[in-house]
Symmetry: C2
Subunit: 203 residues, 2 copies
């Protein structure tokens, strides 16, 4: 963007660019210091904006949180919808979902991190937790169906198996970084292999 | 304990009982509202103690944190030491460690939860993080050795495999509860099976 164009867009409030910028900055600060401990002023200050400029783009701190959580949840839900649509067997659906869920997490890391840290202290958070629970239940039903198909071992209770799968996937937010040494596509393959085939060699 | 004995011990400050009680209450509050946001007064108030009574047992908030983190770390380190001592092959060492690490986590849930939430905002936290990193590296070396033995698949980088194993184990703090429906011993078997053999049936 040229300086002139930038100035011109500044005058009009640069709606598209600023909105995304505000969202990213807010999610970063929410993740750093916690949603409750973050004020709209903190977000504005981190961008060098006035608080009023921020309110030009978002109604409230809660509406920023809502959008960020929706981004994470929609990504995961779409991945599951596609996996169900693209595959006949529950086992194949689950394989595709696990693989693409890692893709969602690595591509939308800050939003997923935020989602995983939500504790339900507000209406927006409670709604996100409820949506996440409904989503987890859909996955648990696919795990149970894959066990019925004989493709997943039945020794592990379906709800525990679901939690273990999500446990491994979600733990990536603790260490995976887009600019780090681990390739996102390889990581999706690794998680799929680890959860389905296990780390042990099978001679 | 009889009422008389309790009163008599109260007069002497009930050192053993109170110390443990303070530790448990502190860890619970640290986990609920965060270490930084917790004051010594919060801990004392939750027990109906005066602040001075609490200082009778612990020098500072940091010394309580230090003890709790040491409890989690010592448990994990002992589990690893035993696994190394009891087994010849790296693969067998790793199997025993994964199984007993789940046992440590379920038996010392609040302390391990606290350890996993430590962010390094104080000297005590930094020391715990450093000790945890050294520990993780020991496990990663065993994973690498098990790959060399041909017992663990080499497609997954040893450090990634280590993170995935810990990811699954550590995620238990998010949902496992001692009074919940899942049996701790069964859970250890489940995690071992999931990480080594995978969730898929191997016909």
């Amino acid at each position: 963007m040229t300086a002139a164009a930038s100035t011109s867009r500044n005058r009009r409030g640069r709606p598209g660019y600023d909105r995304q910028q505000v969202l990213e900055a807010a999610v970063r600060i929410f993740n750093q210091q916690g949603y409750d401990a973050t004020s709209v002023s903190d977000i504005a200050a981190s961008l060098g904006f006035a608080k009023s400029a921020l309110y030009h783009h978002f109604e409230s701190k809660a509406s920023i949180l809502e959008l960020a959580l929706d981004d994470a949840l929609s990504g995961l839900e779409s991945a599951l919808d596609s996996a169900v649509r693209d595959n006949g067997s529950a086992s194949a659906q689950l394989r595709q979902f696990v693989h693409s869920a890692v893709g969602v997490l690595t591509a939308r890391l800050p939003q997923v991190m935020l989602l995983l840290r939500v504790r339900g202290n507000s209406e927006v958070e409670l709604a996100a937790l409820q949506r996440r629970r409904a989503f987890d239940q859909r996955v648990a039903m696919i795990v149970a169906a894959a066990q019925e198909e004989g493709m997943l071992r039945k020794e592990i209770d379906a709800s525990v198996a679901t939690r273990l799968i999500f446990g491994m996937i979600n733990s990536l937010v603790e260490w995976y970084r887009p600019d780090g040494p681990v390739d996102a596509a390889e990581l999706a393959d690794d998680v799929l292999l680890a959860t389905f085939d296990g780390l042990q060699t099978h001679p």
